[in-house]
C-alpha cells in the first residue's frame, strides 16, 4: 500500500479504527477462535466436563455417513445452481447487450430477484409448488408427474435449486452485462470482418474474453449456495426429506440446534471456515487480477 500518510494524529487514528476492530475481535475472531478450540473438545453426556481430544471430532465427522451426504448435497446443489444460473444470466446479458429499445425496462425487471430475501423467494415458490395447492404443482399432477417434494428427495433438491437460481439471476446478469460491455466493440467488428458468424464470434471471441467474469461469478455463486441458501432450505424443505437438501451449513445449523455435540458442530464450522478461506484466496489470487470494469 502506498504511503499516503498525511495526518499524524496517532490517537485519532486509533480511535477511528477502534470500533471496527472491536467488533471484529468480539464478534468475529473470538467466536472463530472458540469454534476452533471447541472442535478439539468433547463434552461428556451431562455437559459437566470436557476433554481435549485432538482431532477425534474431525475423524468422527469423516466417519459419519450423514456428513458425506451433506458434502454430496452441497456439491450437487452448487453445481446445478452454478450451471443454470450462469447460463441463464449470460443468455439474458447477451440479449440485453444489443442496442434494442427498452433495455432499461428489461433491466429493471431483471434485477428484482436480487432484492428479494432468499427466504421470501422460497415462500413465493412454495406457493406455486405446494402439492395440491400450488398452481404449478397441480399442472404437474395433471400431466402425470407425482410431485411431492416432501417425500421425494430429488424433487426437493429441484425445488431449492429453482429458488436459488431465480434468486441469483440478477447478480449474474448484471456482472455478465458489465463484462460484455467492457469488450471493445471494434474487436467484435474485426471478428465479423474476419468471417466469423454470430455464434462463432460468441464462442471464439466473446466467451473467452468473459472468462475472468465467469470465474468470478462461479466463485460467488458457490459462496451463495454454501452460505446464503439457509433461508431457502429452512422454509422450503427443512433439510429433508432425509437430509436430501441438507447442505453443510444447514447441517451445522440443525446439529447446533439439537445442542448435543458441541465439538462436532464446532468441527464442522472449522471445516467450513477452511473452505471459505480457500474460496476467497482463489478469488483474490486468480480472478481479481484480470477483472476490470
Amino acid at each position: 500500500m502506498e504511503n499516503r500518510a498525511i495526518f499524524s494524529g496517532k490517537l485519532l487514528a486509533f480511535l477511528l479504527v477502534a470500533p471496527q476492530l472491536a467488533i471484529s475481535l468480539i464478534f468475529f475472531y473470538w467466536p472463530a477462535a472458540q469454534a476452533v478450540w471447541q472442535s478439539f473438545l468433547v463434552q461428556d453426556a451431562f455437559g459437566l466436563s470436557t476433554q481435549f481430544v485432538w482431532f477425534e471430532n474431525y475423524a468422527d465427522l469423516l466417519r459419519t455417513p450423514e456428513y458425506y451426504q451433506a458434502i454430496g448435497v452441497t456439491f450437487v446443489f452448487s453445481a446445478l445452481v452454478v450451471v443454470f444460473s450462469l447460463a441463464i444470466g449470460l443468455l439474458l446479458a447477451v440479449m440485453a447487450n444489443r442496442n434494442i429499445r427498452g433495455v432499461q425496462i428489461y433491466r429493471t425487471f431483471l434485477i428484482i430477484p436480487y432484492a428479494v430475501a432468499p427466504a421470501v423467494a422460497s415462500v413465493l415458490f412454495i406457493f406455486m409448488f405446494q402439492p395440491g395447492l400450488g398452481m404449478i404443482a397441480r399442472e404437474l399432477q395433471r400431466s402425470g408427474i407425482d410431485w411431492n417434494p416432501v417425500l421425494n428427495g430429488t424433487q426437493a433438491m429441484i425445488l431449492v435449486v429453482i429458488v436459488a437460481v431465480w434468486n441469483q439471476i440478477s447478480y449474474n446478469f448484471l456482472f455478465f452485462l458489465a463484462g460484455l460491455q467492457s469488450i471493445p466493440k471494434s474487436v467484435i467488428e474485426a471478428a465479423a470482418i474476419d468471417g466469423a458468424r454470430p455464434m462463432r464470434r460468441f464462442w471464439t471471441i466473446i466467451f473467452p474474453l468473459l472468462s475472468p467474469t465467469t470465474f468470478f461469478l462461479i466463485v460467488i455463486n458457490i459462496t451463495y449456495v454454501f452460505f446464503n441458501t439457509l433461508g431457502i432450505i429452512d422454509t422450503a424443505t427443512g433439510g429433508g426429506p432425509n437430509g436430501a437438501t441438507q447442505t453443510l451449513v444447514y447441517k451445522v445449523f440443525q446439529d447446533g440446534k439439537a445442542g448435543v455435540d458441541l465439538g462436532g458442530s464446532a468441527a464442522q464450522s472449522v471445516i467450513l471456515m477452511v473452505i471459505v478461506v480457500a474460496l476467497t484466496a482463489f478469488q483474490f489470487r486468480y480472478v481479481e487480477k484480470k477483472v476490470h470494469y
Partner: protein, 366 residues
C-alpha cells in the same frame, strides 16, 4: 477487378441527423484512396458503410462490380485495420492472423504459408507466439496489418491506423504502408484527419466536410486548385491566407463582381525590396507591419498585419484560421524582417486563388 464505387450514398440516423449527405466517387483497381477531413465530417462513417459495419439509408456501394449493400461484412471480401488495432487480446499473434482464414475453412498448410509470409513482410516472425498485451504500439499495428494481408482481400480499409502512434513512428509507418500497398497492389481506402498523411499516401484524395465531398482528385491538383475555401485552408500547411475582398483595399484588375475571397499561400508571397517594391504584373501587393516571427531553421514564418484592412470580418474557413487582418508569409532560410518593421509582400497573378463570397466556388482568374 477490385474497384470500389459509391453512388449517391446517404446515411441518416433515426433522430434525423445526416452523417453522410450524398457521396459519389469511384476508386480504381489498385488505387490508394484517402478520405480526409476534420473530426465529425463523416469519413469514418463512410468507411464503415463500405465495410458493412453500418447500414446505408440510400444509395449504392459497389465492390468489384457487385452491389454490396445487403451483404455481410464477412462476405464483402474486405479487410480492415482499426484505429485501436482491435487485436484479439486472448490469442497469439499467429492466431490473430490465422483467425480469419480458419473461419473460411482454409487448409492448415495454406494458412501457415500465408501467415508466415505476412510475418516475413512485416517483420513479425519473432513475435508470432506473443499476445497483443506483450507488444508495443507499432508492433500491434503491424499485426493488425498482417491480419488484413493474409486474407488477400479485394479491398483494404484503414481507419486512422496511425493516430495512436507517436510522431516519428507515424512517419515511418506511413512510408511502410505505402510501400506495402504498392507491392500488393490492393485497392485501398484510408481515412485520416491529418492532411499531410493524406497528401503523401493518396493516389486519389477525397476531401470531406460535414458529410459531403468537397473535392476529389489527385493530391497535387487539389493543392494547386482547391475548389472551395474549406479545401484551400485544409490542404497545405501552414494554411492558405484568405482575404475577404470587400474588407480589403486591394487593387486587383480583371476580376468579376462575384469574386468574394482571395487566397494566397504563404509560400507564394515574396517580400519585395523595400516598402515600395515593384508589384508583379496583374498580381497583388500587401503592405504589412510585422507582428511575430517564427524561425524553424529551414524557413521563417512572418506574421504581419495588413494596413489596408477595413473591417475586421474574418473569412469563414475554419482550419488553421488566422486572426482577421493577419497574413502569414513563408520565407526560406533564416533571414527576415524585424518585428515592427513595415514590409511589402507580393504575389504573382498565377498564384492567386479566387473564390465566391460564400467560399463554395472557385473562380478562374484569367
Amino acid at each position: 477487378m477490385a474497384n470500389v464505387a459509391l453512388r449517391n450514398v446517404r446515411k441518416a440516423y433515426p433522430n434525423g441527423f445526416e452523417a453522410i449527405k450524398g457521396v459519389t466517387f469511384e476508386v480504381g483497381d489498385g488505387q490508394f484512396c484517402v478520405l480526409v477531413g476534420p473530426s465529425g465530417c463523416g469519413k469514418s462513417t463512410l468507411l464503415r458503410t463500405i465495410a458493412g459495419l453500418e447500414t446505408v439509408t440510400s444509395g449504392e456501394i459497389d465492390i468489384g462490380g457487385r452491389v454490396v449493400n445487403q451483404i455481410e461484412p464477412a462476405d464483402r471480401d474486405i479487410a480492415m485495420v482499426f484505429q485501436n488495432y482491435a487485436l484479439y487480446p486472448h490469442m497469439s499473434v499467429y492466431n490473430n492472423m490465422a483467425y480469419g482464414l480458419r473461419n473460411r475453412r482454409m487448409e492448415k498448410k495454406e494458412i501457415d504459408t500465408r501467415v508466415q509470409e505476412a510475418a516475413r513482410i512485416l517483420e513479425l516472425a519473432a513475435l508470432l507466439d506473443r499476445k497483443p498485451g506483450q507488444l508495443s504500439g507499432g508492433q500491434r499495428q503491424r499485426v493488425a496489418m498482417g491480419r488484413a494481408i493474409v486474407r488477400q482481400p479485394k479491398v483494404f480499409l484503414f481507419d486512422e491506423p496511425l493516430s495512436n502512434l507517436d510522431a516519428k513512428l507515424r512517419i515511418a509507418m506511413r512510408v511502410e504502408i505505402r510501400k506495402l500497398q504498392r507491392r500488393l497492389n490492393t485497392t485501398s481506402i484510408y481515412v485520416t484527419h491529418d492532411q499531410l498523411e493524406a497528401m503523401t499516401l493518396a493516389d486519389i484524395l477525397v476531401v470531406m466536410n460535414g458529410g459531403q465531398v468537397e473535392q476529389i482528385g489527385n493530391p497535387l491538383d487539389i493543392y494547386e486548385k482547391p475548389a472551395t475555401t474549406f479545401v484551400a485552408a485544409f490542404i497545405g500547411a501552414p494554411p492558405m491566407n484568405l482575404i475577404a475582398l470587400r474588407d480589403a483595399d486591394i487593387a486587383l484588375p480583371g476580376i468579376g463582381s462575384e469574386a468574394g475571397i482571395l487566397g494566397i499561400r504563404p509560400e507564394d508571397l515574396h517580400m519585395t525590396s523595400g516598402v515600395n517594391g515593384a508589384v508583379p504584373d496583374g498580381g497583388i501587393a500587401l503592405d504589412l507591419t510585422v507582428e511575430t516571427i517564427e524561425r524553424v531553421g529551414a524557413e521563417t514564418y512572418v506574421y504581419g498585419l495588413r494596413s489596408d484592412q477595413n473591417g475586421t470580418a474574418a473569412v469563414s474557413a475554419k482550419p488553421g484560421e488566422l486572426p482577421p487582418g493577419e497574413i502569414l508569409v513563408r520565407i526560406p532560410g533564416q533571414s527576415g524582417p524585424a518585428i515592427g518593421e513595415r514590409i511589402r509582400a507580393a504575389a504573382a497573378r498565377e498564384k492567386l486563388h479566387l473564390f465566391s463570397a460564400d467560399g463554395r466556388k472557385r473562380i478562374a482568374l484569367s
